[in-house]
Symmetry: C2
Subunit: 159 residues, 2 copies
């Protein structure tokens, strides 16, 4: 009971969902759609999520919420990333080095495309940001004119 130092590295779906701020349904759905590789299970069939699974879940949330990608798009992206893990796993095994290199190159390309996508979005967002900032300035001017109109004498108005 006094063992809070072992946070049980494998989470059941309930905790996993809580920590990811998603629902169990959502996790199962992502699995169903192939976004999550089927997690390991307990003997009884209960899902057990590894820290790696949790990371992936978080990536999905980021890609969805921040960038607004559809699950289908996200799936593609993650598949590209998987290449990296695959290569890592196979690293010390026989295998065609050139083939791996090719995979790594395409994975790199995909990642760069994602980067460019993000950059494009950020540019657009910052221009939107600017126009909003302009608006605020205009409101400020408006309000200034109002206060001038209402208080023709600038007295002790000092906060």
């Amino acid at each position: 009971m006094a063992d809070a130092s072992k946070p049980e590295r494998f989470l059941q779906i309930g905790e996993a969902a809580d920590r990811a701020s998603l629902t169990q349904r959502t996790l199962r759905y992502y699995e169903e759609k192939g976004l999550l590789n089927p997690p390991s299970r307990m003997d009884g069939g209960f899902r057990l999520y590894t820290p790696d699974d949790m990371e992936r879940i978080d990536r999905i949330r980021q890609l969805k919420e921040l960038l607004g990608f559809s699950l289908a798009e996200i799936k593609e992206m993650l598949e590209a990333e998987d290449v990296r893990l695959q290569i890592k796993a196979e690293w010390r095994r026989d295998a065609d080095a050139e083939e791996k290199a090719e995979k790594a190159r395409t994975a790199r390309e995909v990642t760069i495309q994602q980067l460019q996508l993000i950059d494009q979005k950020m540019e657009k967002m910052s221009s939107l940001r600017e126009s909003l900032a302009d608006r605020v300035r205009k409101y400020d001017e408006m309000l200034l004119r109002f206060s001038e109109a209402l208080e023709p004498e600038p007295a002790s108005t000092q906060s």
Copy 2:
């Protein structure tokens, strides 16, 4: 026919949709949902979109695509902005100055909230960006190791 200088400032729904890269259905839908104020019409009933309408349509697209807001949320935001235009329109008419000022203040607040939302998103995006950039670096390392393994003798490999 040789008059390309008069781009006809009022667009029918077809052109309007094309220019906004949306469908006619979508424009009607936005109108139906109260995101667009009903545009003016020709005698026969055909919708005519003013440049202002077009701007608004574009704003909607930005808010939706860039920030991922739902149409309901966007509606609220635009309503807040409308206050500004309303005030401008009423500017020279009788009217309670204080009431207008109040409206302007709340509109300002809403706009600032939007700004903060954007800033939050941009922060998260840039941290995501960083992690992606890291990934690219790792791929580069991988590929470097590959090329070292395949070409033990650094010869005329100079691009």
